[in-house]
Symmetry: none
Subunit: 132 residues, 2 copies
């Protein structure tokens, strides 16, 4: 599992871990039942304290995205389709909110912004399809 922590972004490390694992689960990059790296393993890889990772994992567990077994490890949970849909929408909304605020701040025409977004969607969608 590849995680990237940007220590200059101002976002707490544990938040970045949560967000990235959440996204990977939602994108189907990891399957239900799959084991995530151990607290110590991931902490060593990311060069942070194990308790920081444990904190992130606790939040993921509280959000029912993973199941933790003491002595064994952490496993991706089965996500109900309704829950997955809601989580996906929340992830996208956060990104689009940032874009929308910026578009408004910079006084970019809404139709222009929407057109650009749709074009980008189609661009990356066709790239994804060409991989199937």
């Amino acid at each position: 599992m590849l995680l990237d922590i940007d220590t200059h972004s101002g976002v707490p490390i544990y938040r970045q871990v949560i967000d990235q694992i959440t996204q990977q689960i939602m994108a189907g990059q990891v399957e239900a039942g799959e084991q995530l790296p151990s607290v110590r393993d991931l902490a060593a890889r990311l060069k942070v304290n194990p308790m920081t990772i444990s904190k992130a994992y606790s939040f993921l567990e509280a959000g029912n995205l993973v199941e933790r077994q003491r002595g064994v490890g952490l496993f991706v949970a089965k996500i109900g389709p309704g829950e997955a849909e809601q989580t996906k929408a929340e992830i996208l909304q956060d990104l689009l909110r940032k874009a929308a605020v910026t578009a408004v701040q910079l006084e970019i025409d809404p139709d222009e912004a929407v057109r650009l977004f749709r074009e980008l969607y189609e661009h990356y969608d066709s790239r994804r399809r060409s991989k199937l």
Copy 2:
């Protein structure tokens, strides 16, 4: 000047203020010599402590983006020609690219994604207009 503070993002408030003002200056949305809102004014608007805004303004001053005059206020500085400017379209594209990639990865319907973006735009746009 419209600023939006997302208290759930984990990014410190002063960082968000810095980043958004920086972005607007670099995009040419505000001109050299233009006055920014006072510390107290912006703090009241964003419902934060004035010292938090003062901290952000200090960083902007340290980065030579603004000039502060005690008793008068804060003014956008002349930016040297060497400073790399991004166009508004480039800025927005970077953000929308991330959203588009994510929407594709999460297999979110394009019309749904576009509808969400437009709603968010209109939401923040109506906030901006209500301040004019």
